[in-house]
Symmetry: D2
Subunit: 255 residues, 4 copies
Amino acid sequence: MRIDLNSDMGESYGRWTLGDDHALLDVVSSANVACGFHAGDPAGMLRTLSNAADNGVCVGAHVAYHDLAGFGRRFVDEQPADLKADVMYQLAALEGLAASVGARVSYVKPHGALYNRIVHDERQAQAVVDAIVAIDPALGLLTLPGSVVGEIAAAAGLRVFREAFADRAYMPDGTLVPRTQPGAVISDVDAVAARVSRMASAGEVVAIDGSVIPVAADSVCVHGDSPSAVAMARAIRARLDADGFDVRAFAADAV
Amino acid sequence: MRIDLNSDMGESYGRWTLGDDHALLDVVSSANVACGFHAGDPAGMLRTLSNAADNGVCVGAHVAYHDLAGFGRRFVDEQPADLKADVMYQLAALEGLAASVGARVSYVKPHGALYNRIVHDERQAQAVVDAIVAIDPALGLLTLPGSVVGEIAAAAGLRVFREAFADRAYMPDGTLVPRTQPGAVISDVDAVAARVSRMASAGEVVAIDGSVIPVAADSVCVHGDSPSAVAMARAIRARLDADGFDVRAFAADAV
Amino acid sequence: MRIDLNSDMGESYGRWTLGDDHALLDVVSSANVACGFHAGDPAGMLRTLSNAADNGVCVGAHVAYHDLAGFGRRFVDEQPADLKADVMYQLAALEGLAASVGARVSYVKPHGALYNRIVHDERQAQAVVDAIVAIDPALGLLTLPGSVVGEIAAAAGLRVFREAFADRAYMPDGTLVPRTQPGAVISDVDAVAARVSRMASAGEVVAIDGSVIPVAADSVCVHGDSPSAVAMARAIRARLDADGFDVRAFAADAV
Amino acid sequence: MRIDLNSDMGESYGRWTLGDDHALLDVVSSANVACGFHAGDPAGMLRTLSNAADNGVCVGAHVAYHDLAGFGRRFVDEQPADLKADVMYQLAALEGLAASVGARVSYVKPHGALYNRIVHDERQAQAVVDAIVAIDPALGLLTLPGSVVGEIAAAAGLRVFREAFADRAYMPDGTLVPRTQPGAVISDVDAVAARVSRMASAGEVVAIDGSVIPVAADSVCVHGDSPSAVAMARAIRARLDADGFDVRAFAADAV
């Protein structure tokens, strides 16, 4: 049995540090590396890329809206041509930096508000897909199952990978429980580890109403931006190892 | 006889436009394209790169300090590791964007305060050279004859090209008359055109004291950020054409 | 008869210039001065404020989303607390700079995407009103008649002023014809000048379907970001002068 | 006996947090609050100002070069007119935000590279003094004893306050041991607390060569950007309390 764990990395900026990249590189098989638009200065990007390469962790481009103050978490109503160019710039920069330290970018995971927006916004989704095709059509796309951007990417010939979330509750229809609702985020470490193991082995999860629903995941997202998040990430990895999983990058074959 | 004319381009940013790139592309053989740190948003960079490719104009990376408010004209005392990474990021981004529109980056011309600083600052000069080597050692470097960065680049195996300035007065020792001194900038169009022609044919120029000095130039810089600058650039090109020069990119053989 | 003409000013940034503030200061009675978030560096803001004071032109704060790359023309989904603080920061900065050169900020005109958003978005409208109240409740608010932000501001005790647009076509219901529709922008200088005169004297305008509708305007917006815009602004002013209007700031009584 | 302790605060930015402001507000009597140019988003500035007011801590403006990526720690060769305007903008913004939450800015402490530069650079020092005079001549200036900016500020009629550093070693001539030299920073908590107590009571400190030198300090700077820094700050405060000092803002009389 094989599963991938991914996490956001390289989200420091200048004097400000965020997340424990060092700890996470022992846990995950895929690293979503910030590209400078929501986080990530060039020197920090180089360090993250180099560390990922040293640890054999697969690299993805964590492209975002151009909004440091908002950390890419605010929707920005960019025109598609501008968004396409912004994403191309980020992809090109990360690919070049990666190559300089012996790493290689294998996939794209849009960040924050952009990730959520292109689940349903066709124009911005098309812009992101166009950007990937223009810079490197060998890059895969990591997105929610059923997203608009996934459909557009597949139609454009890109490889599309499905993401699940370790600590998020699911609605019976397979969508995520909105963060504004009670129970949206699961904080019990053992429960989360068990959920991930079940997702990875059986392709299913218990939804918030108690029903068992299918969750097809090529990769499971774990967080590392707080001490408790790192502890949870480690617990998930330990459980998967104990359960005999091969934790390996979904995009590994392309590396 | 062969000479190259270069000019800064792509220095608009969002709503703000600067320079007449369209007019200049008919005049010059090399375009120094802004990379987003002192000017140049990604969508504008793509347009400039595409236009340069359409006009057969060679592309250089106009890398700069990260300072939009100062337009890269203020020295920033960056640590070498940070400066190296900043330059790498810009080179990688521009190369990737260029490739997507069928253009190719052939050389690096540092911009503004960075250009001037690394004429004599060894640490920052080394950082810029290290960045070029790390991203693409096939890139040439365009700099002042006798500059520290030129020496370091040559020692690192990079191709180094010498730049002269169309409208700047020279000291008897071959350095530029500082802008703070009277006569530093020559505004007579015909006089400037004649100077460039003499530089290109005889490798010499009349210094501010009337003496004739050698000026070895692989490329001559012309400006295009005002209507009068465009008029001067056109006059220079017309004079060179009339005098039978082959106006061609110094880096053309590498394209 | 009395009317106010307002225009955006101070929208240069560092090396980039935009608009002909000098020409406009002879035309308008109110200047919407950029506050640094979509345009306007501090040194330029000081120049604009000083020039406005010298010309007896009333100053408004042209507050915006924090988005230089997008020039404040893209909706940014900011949380109300962040938006309120961003607007407070801009108001405070502009008021302090104004006081230092003998000018005084009399009103607030939100810029671009923020202006349009708070015509209908209650949460962001409330945030802008809260910011004004927190920094200086003596400031007036200039907005579209019927806007949500106007209602909220009036309820909060702020003075609310209604704005009309010189060169925009109106729908029969008094809203603006969207820019995406044909005929949305009127380019005939004499026609525009006549419209403004009629708005100011009779409080009415001919809508796009030919019907005559009421347009209650305390101030009419003119543009100055191109040579033709300046020519139109001058024509409007000349017409108003010829028709005997007293062109005077709506907020003048508060100065 | 009376002494002031000051510390940098409000240096978070958007998603990134830095320093333990909450802990420091129990320790210090003066808070240097970031103004948005090296750190500090508006919403965070408001929180810091509000917390300072609640704790009766005096507020200073921590003005800086406009350089988020460099956290204001890199010298930027700004022209005096631009630097003056940048500092004015920051002072005006902070004063306005402070007033809105019942706080008041009492002094200016330049940050990082600007602090160090204007110890000796007359042009930039003059620009900072001009900015203070233009916005609010009642503001004091906190700087190194003997600095050029202190002399210029005093000549301009500003109140000037002298700063000492808790954990930095001194040269026999009273200047700081450069950070690049061994022994420049003292990490022993008790030793630092004892040094501060001696500075505050006897106006003297043991220099790096063992000699006792005078250190006239109106305020002593303590750090809070790491757990060990907070521990040291608390130890210093405990020692001063135990030794019977009145820890009170140097600018308190103006509040």
